[in-house]
Amino acid sequence: MIELTIDGKLIQAEKGSTILQIAKANNIKIPHLCWDRRLKPYGGCRLCLVEVEGQRKLLAACSTPAENGMVIKTDTPVLRKARKTVLELLLVHHPLDCPICDKAGECDLQDLAYQYGPSEGRFYAERKHDPEATSPLIERNPNRCILCGRCVRVCWEHQGVGAINLIGRGFNTKISPAFEETLDCEFCGQCVDACPVGALGTKPYKYRARAWFLESTDTICPYCSVGCTLTLDLREGKILRVRGMDGVGVNEGDLCGKGRFGFDFIYSEGRLTKPLLRKNGEFQEVDWEEALYYIAERLRDIKETHGPEKIGAIGSARTTLEDDIMLARFFREVLGSDNIDSSARLGYAWALKGMEDTLGIKSNPVSLNSPIGKEVVLVLESDITSTHPIFGLKFLEAMHEGTEVIVVDPRKTKLARRGNRWLRNRPGTITPFLYGITHLAMKEGVHLKKDITAEGLDELEDGLREYTPGKVSELTGIDEDLFREVALRFINAESRLLTLTLGAAENQKGLETIHAAANLLMLLGEGPEALQIPSDYSNTYGAWLAGLRPLSGGKDLYGMLYTPGSLKALYVMGEDPLVTMPDAGTIEENLKDLELLIVQDIRLSETGKLAHVVLPASSWAEKEGSFINSQGIRQMLPKVVSTTGDSIADWKIFRNIARVMGHDLGTVEFSQLKEEAGKIVPEEGTRKWRFIPPEWEGLARTTEEYPILMVTGNIMQHSGSLSVMSKSLSHVLSDAFVQISPEDAGRFRIGDGEFIEITSPKGTVYIKARVSDEIPEGMLFVPLHFAHARVNLLTEVSRDGKALLTPVRIGPRKGNGGSPAG
């Protein structure tokens, strides 16, 4: 601790912090333009100059570390003069188009000009007239730029992208993408929030409203499970833009492109406004009463004829906790059926099972700051910066603070590019990679240093005997010496972290991967906090906890969707199994056999098109509720906008059906549900550790006929099938594509942007190819978001939770094949 005086105030502060940080913490205002909490000090704007007693020169508060006994003055005539001149010089070239600029009213330069600036300048010159540079979502106006470099630094230092940089020198400096091309980046929009003036803005908000017309409300992002706080700016009940507020929420102001631009899915033209009832094979808009009576009658019928065990429900990973509770209550209490499940079954459930098998815990919430301060972090075949972007940023942050981030991934993901080390393995071989490290740890006798009481150690040792570094190198395609080096680095580190994602959309990792990871960590004496597996979507974890899973022997997702004839009626809430779940062909057949398919969603989904009744539900911003994020934190969502058409909140729909069915669920009010949701606590496990012997079934099943492995997953700009509804996000990426390596493209004579035919034992689809060096030879990467691509026709479902890569063969599209999804 040090003691210093700022403006006559005696202040105690941490050693090593800068003057500006201390002043900020103590509510002393020092003006600044180029400083940002998340970035290294830059010292470019020279507005934060302060006087320090005993120093001849003025010091920049942002970059000068405070020292014990400093006497600092932040507002003296000399400083005012210096600041005034800086602002005067900036304003000479800054266009005075505040009446048009969208930043007016919340512009740092404007505020400072009011505070210090001269009303009349002493210099007159031609101002800049560079043309604006537009891109799908981010609009750059170089004339307004004051070259503080915040966007450049946020993009490179914080976001790890480096899409823009300062070009040129001195007064001719410009901020521009390489070679002044159009901006083509991941469109996170962090630069827009960083810009202190109006040089960067978001396209959807451009010229829509003035800052003082807006009302702000905080809510939680509906996309991934990080659960970022979004600050919505509304005008007259319509969301115009989303911002991240510095220091607010778990994200502390960081947002990804989905959160920032993806909110407009609620204004999509495809939103359902009225219930649809299938009459003579065609959908007809009906009123709620008719739809509810129809559902009540049909459900009662089926229950009476076939019994409640023939009725099932699939919940959503994106509806609120309150909706989920109501679905569970409706099924268990009104219908008496335990056939309830959600998409978590395909991914996160296996992660939970894996951890229960080994570490004996029934839940393992992640901690966003877990990578920071660790010595080594191993990222296993997971593109965390795409699936959980804000969690991904923490890995970069940790790296800046000295953590060694090692990425093992066949794809050249952002973390692979930016991490300290990247090992390119063959797709789906992360499990033997972990076996190899475990084997090495045993051989090096690391486990002997720890007191291991868990059972199954001998079996594990036996099973791992064959996974020598040589063998692992052969399986994974990683150089043996490199593997050994990385493995030993991980084993011998002081503190370590393993992280992977296990989403429903990913098929290269499975239960055995979790077992292998847990085995390794237990052997090294690490607890569950060293294994970070975030859940998929905003409320995946919440849905699991709220009981959207069979609790007393009901059918699970596999039993409902993939077993022919297991059900007569199915209720699907906010989920689109035909697009997001593997082996869509089988699902489609089974759904067609149903006597009653009810789909409750915000739009007419692919599954909805097969339904007998489609009910319009309110979207995330149109109802109150709460999400449980992957950290296990329950965060409340306020009702922000009015509902679309006749749609109503999901929980109200269940309440109404129950009423129509004459069943008394008691008084159901939101406050009650909220209270009930508040009582949910994660289950504890036995915490008894147990090693699971290796169970990996060998290299994935390529054959001569199907020589290429297809990996499915999520990409940066999209999440599940929801984001496709967003106009803004679709501006960036609206068409399905498959990434293919340059080698394979050459081999199969496929050009960039051409349609190719992908055939698996299950079927054939046609998708546009993107040749990319992000992908190694022998692999395809397909995002699953786009309904029209029907990629899931090709995949298979893995009933035991093991990774199941899809072997395919590819070729140019023959003749005029057309898209079968049509």
Binding site: G44, R46, R56, P65, T85, V86, L89, A125, G170
Partner: protein, 418 residues
């Protein structure tokens, strides 16, 4: 005094290693390699050598900071980016006597336990690049560079990195950024490069002339070296004299030679024997001196007493035919062009100073322009990120201070006094 730095450069083929060895080259290296690194640093401290790049920081002290940093590897960078108008003192060493620099760098590398050295060469010296690369190749061939220098088990590798023509890269942190492959912009200090420099490692950046003094210090010993020239900042110094003198060129003289001696004795006096009007003693960024101040000794101690600086020792002499407003304007044009654009006062301020000077020079000056110039320059001096902005401001302030009349004449009469 015998020349050391520029010894024998008039001879044909002076850049070859054989020619250098004839002059007794690489003898100091052998002596140095038998010494302990600490001993060399001690010797340098004793010699009182001060950095020749412009700031005059004691080299021994800088080395001491760097050698105390426990991080490895360390890097030694030779700053050969002399881009300041009027300065051409390093060029004869680089082009005619490169082995002296290489020898100096090997000795420094040994003293600092640095295993890699870079010569950051000015982009506009393509000739020097060829010479240096050839000299380095020769040195490698003779085992003077490499993993095992002269069989003493000492490792030092050296390579030339050519800049891309930015004056700012002569600033040590910008130079390091440039070597790392980034945009050449100065970094925040502290941490200083001696602790956190290239790739985050301790890095010592020294001027060509500084490093070239090393063989002399090692061969004659620090104490004897301290006897050359002014005892407060001893050693030989290269003065580059240009503009209105009879014999412009580089002169190696002991530190502390008076300005009068340099101009009238060595450079042969003023061209056409006209009266002297002004002298810039140390490169364009140092404050200008009037004729009555030229009895000042040219070193790091005495020049500040008359309100100027030694800088790089580039003496620019102006006779009465020279318009000083024009000189000032040309200087600012240079600074405006070379400002990196990182900090506002320098990026915008240099442009404005140039703009106002331009209108004064072209006869469009107005009343109050001098005050405006002073005001802008005061707002820059000491408030910019790096010394470039200070330099630009000081030029304007010193010119106005010393030659106020000439500026006023320009504004009022719309014509030049000269």
């Amino acid at each position: 005094m015998d020349k050391f730095l520029l010894r024998g450069i008039e001879e044909e083929g002076s850049a070859a290693i054989a020619s250098y060895r004839e002059k007794g080259g690489y003898a100091a290296l052998e002596k140095a390699l038998s010494m302990k690194p600490e001993e060399i640093i001690e010797e340098v401290k004793r010699s009182g050598l001060r950095g020749r790049g412009g700031a005059g920081f004691p080299t021994g002290m800088k080395w001491d900071f760097a050698s105390r940093d426990p991080k490895f590897p360390k890097y030694l960078i030779c700053n050969a980016d002399e881009g300041e108008p009027g300065t051409f003192k390093d060029r004869p060493i680089l082009e005619k006597n490169p082995h002296l620099l290489i020898e100096g760098m090997i000795i420094s590398g040994h003293a600092l336990k640095a295993e890699y050295g870079y010569i950051y060469l000015r982009g506009e010296y393509p000739g020097a690049k060829v010479v240096l690369e050839q000299a380095i190749e020769e040195a490698y061939k003779e085992g003077l560079l490499g993993d095992d220098i002269l069989g003493k088990g000492i490792k030092f590798h050296l390579s030339v990195h050519q800049g891309a023509g930015a004056y700012i890269c002569g600033e040590e942190t910008a130079l390091i950024d440039s070597i790392e492959g980034r945009r050449g912009q100065p970094r925040i200090k502290p941490p200083f490069p001696v602790n956190v420099g290239a790739w985050g490692m301790p890095t010592i950046v020294n001027n060509v002339e500084t490093l070239s003094n090393l063989p002399l210090i090692v061969s004659i010993g620090g104490e004897k070296y301290a006897g050359i020239g002014n005892p407060e900042c001893p050693g030989p110094k290269i003065y580059s004299v240009s503009c209105c003198v009879k014999k412009p060129g580089v002169y190696e003289l002991p530190m502390g030679t008076t300005l009068r001696e340099i101009i009238y004795t060595h450079a042969g006096g003023i061209r056409d024997d006209r009266p002297l009007k002004a002298v810039i003693p140390g490169g364009i960024s140092t404050p200008v001196l009037t004729p009555d101040q030229i009895d000042c000794k040219m070193d790091f101690v005495n020049l500040p007493k008359v309100g100027s600086m030694l800088g790089s020792g580039a003496v620019m002499v102006f006779d009465d035919t020279v318009c000083l407003v024009r000189v000032c304007w040309r200087a600012l044009r240079f600074f405006e062009h070379e400002s990196c654009g990182k900090c506002v006062p320098c990026r915008e301020g240099t442009g404005w100073l140039r703009n106002i000077l331009e209108r004064i020079e072209n006869g469009f000056g107005r009343k109050g322009d001098i005050e405006l110039l002073q005001d802008v320059a005061h707002s820059m001096a000491g408030k910019t990120f790096c010394p470039l902005g200070d330099g630009a401001a000081n030029v304007v302030l010193s010119f106005i201070r010393q030659f106020h009349d000439e500026f006023e004449h320009h504004i009022e009469k719309k014509e030049c006094m000269a």
